[in-house]
């Protein structure tokens, strides 16, 4: 039982590291957002690459967030199925 728990947490740590590195890249390129200046709009060809890169990073951020929320959701559903989230009635209070 403990071994399975350890294995799962190692895997999660690995995913966590990958996500963290993505987050760091995300943070370092956030100032790029400020540089998205379109000189003339909309006919003159603009610096598309910064915009596409920012868009890609944005999508990675959103998908990362969705994955994390799904993980939380699965967690909550697992807990609820086990039934351990309900408070016991008449539980003795420590005064």
């Amino acid at each position: 039982m403990l071994k399975i728990k350890l294995a799962i947490s190692n895997w999660q740590l690995a995913i966590g590291k990958i996500l963290l590195s993505i987050v760091l890249i995300f943070i370092t390129t956030t100032p790029l957002w400020a540089q998205d200046k379109i000189e003339v709009f909309p006919t003159v060809p603009y610096d598309r690459f910064i915009i596409f890169q920012t868009l890609a990073i944005f999508w990675i951020a959103i998908i990362g967030l969705i994955i994390i929320i799904r993980m939380k959701l699965k967690e909550i559903e697992k807990i609820q199925k086990m039934g351990i989230d309900k408070e016991e009635k008449d539980i003795p209070l420590l005064d």
Partner: protein
């Protein structure tokens, strides 16, 4: 070295990951929003070019306003005939000042502050003297510059 237990609980890990990611995401988006919403702050000019003929003939002991960026500048011809230029803004709360020729003093109406001919704060709340500019004659133009700024005009 493998350890037999997990250093953090699944719940803590998940919650920290969620919170951190969400914070970064919201922070980044909010930063982008702020970049748009924050106004471009105007800068005070380093120097201003004026036509000589507009200012050379003002009577002694009088002032003539000129634009210094978006702010009031005053061309001041003293009794002696010397021409100086200063920023016509009170050093207290940035109200516009006016010259009182009878008293030979500058007066700020907001809180009754007084400055003498050389801009020194003599009465009322103003904490500092008025800011004077350097005036240089370049042909038919006056170049009014901040003290210490070296002005290099482009060759027209």
């Amino acid at each position: 070295m493998k350890i037999n237990y997990s250093l953090i609980t699944r719940r803590t890990f998940l919650n920290t990951l969620f919170g951190g990611w969400l914070l970064t995401f919201c922070g980044g988006s909010f930063y982008a929003l702020l970049k748009f919403a924050f106004p471009t702050l105007g800068k005070e000019p380093d120097f201003v070019v004026l036509n000589t003929k507009d200012y050379i003939d003002i009577p002694s002991n009088s002032t003539k306003p000129f634009p210094w960026g978006g702010v009031l500048g005053l061309f001041f011809k003293k009794d002696s005939g010397t021409m100086v230029a200063l920023k016509g803004v009170c050093t207290h709360m940035e109200c516009n000042i006016t010259y009182k020729p009878e008293d030979k003093k500058f007066y700020c109406a907001c809180h009754q502050g007084w400055f003498d001919e050389d801009g020194k704060n003599i009465a009322g709340p103003p904490p500092k003297p008025l800011e004077f500019f350097d005036v240089k004659v370049e042909g038919e133009k006056f170049i009014v510059a901040k003290k210490g700024i070296k002005v290099e005009l482009p060759k027209a």
